[in-house]
Amino acid sequence: MTAFDRRLAGRLLGPEGPELTCEQCFDQLDRYVELELSGDRADEQVPGMRAHLEGCPACDEDHASLLAFVSAER
């Protein structure tokens, strides 16, 4: 498959396994980012977050922005 087709298939099929909803993602986002910044097993402590970020581009952007902003503020 081409990279384009692989990305397309991935976007259509989404992540495997359980994932948070958008509302749960927003609710947990600040905690998740601080766990990431402290290197404290964020994916283990907030199960389903990583899968949701892979499947939801908008929440993924929100996550990237919060991580970048809080990192810059410290």
Partner: protein, 205 residues
């Protein structure tokens, strides 16, 4: 002083000070609200500058100001939801970043048509596989397209095509369909489960 916080977390002193100062009974409330707005505006400006694309500087600043205002209202309304899972400022920043991100995406798509009736054309564009890869690519994409036509409801198909193929931001689609990001994502999630099941039945997942 707010006393309704979850007892699970002991707040860090800085977060506790924010809650104390933002309490309606606090003599420092007005000053705290102004400080909070300034922090939210900084976050909103950060987000707008990251994503504004072709939006001009003046309009970008206007979007940042609107985002900070809306985020302030949301933060003050949901103050009692803050559980101390993070620093108060990290919790507050996410509201400003969300507001700014949504506003920038919607502004970028203002005036652009979203094609929501893709029933008459090929659902999945072809990416031009090399001859060596062609068979595998063609089989998977054909199976996906067939599953999309056979297994998905018209609403699931429209939403998945718009977001996953046409790259329409989910917030933009939510605005056009008068719904929410969360509701649309649930639709996408259900559609994806159907597609995975259909491919699994064909031993292609």
């Amino acid at each position: 002083m707010l006393v309704t916080m979850s007892s699970v977390h002991l707040l860090d002193p800085e977060s506790q000070a924010w809650l104390d100062r933002l309490d309606p009974s606090s003599a420092e409330r007005d000053a705290a609200v102004a400080e909070l707005h300034a922090l939210l505006l900084k976050a909103a400006r950060f987000e707008v500058s990251r994503r504004r694309g072709s939006i001009g500087a003046a309009e970008g600043e206007d979007l940042a100001q609107q985002s900070a205002d809306d985020a302030l209202v949301a933060v003050l309304r949901r103050l009692r939801d803050f559980r101390g899972d993070s620093r108060f400022t990290t919790w507050a920043y996410k509201f400003a970043l969300l507001e700014a991100g949504v506003k920038v995406r919607r502004r970028a798509w203002q005036g652009r048509e979203v094609q929501l009736e893709p029933e008459s054309w090929a659902l999945i564009p072809r990416g031009g596989a090399t001859p060596h890869e062609e068979l595998e690519t063609a089989e998977l994409l054909a199976a996906l397209e067939e599953a999309m036509r056979r297994e998905l409801t018209p609403h699931q198909r429209r939403v998945l095509v718009a977001v996953a193929i046409q790259d329409v931001p989910i917030d933009v689609l939510a605005e056009r369909l008068d719904t929410t990001r969360g509701a649309l994502y649930k639709t996408i999630h259900a559609a994806r489960r159907k597609l995975r099941a259909a491919l699994a039945a064909r031993e292609m997942s």
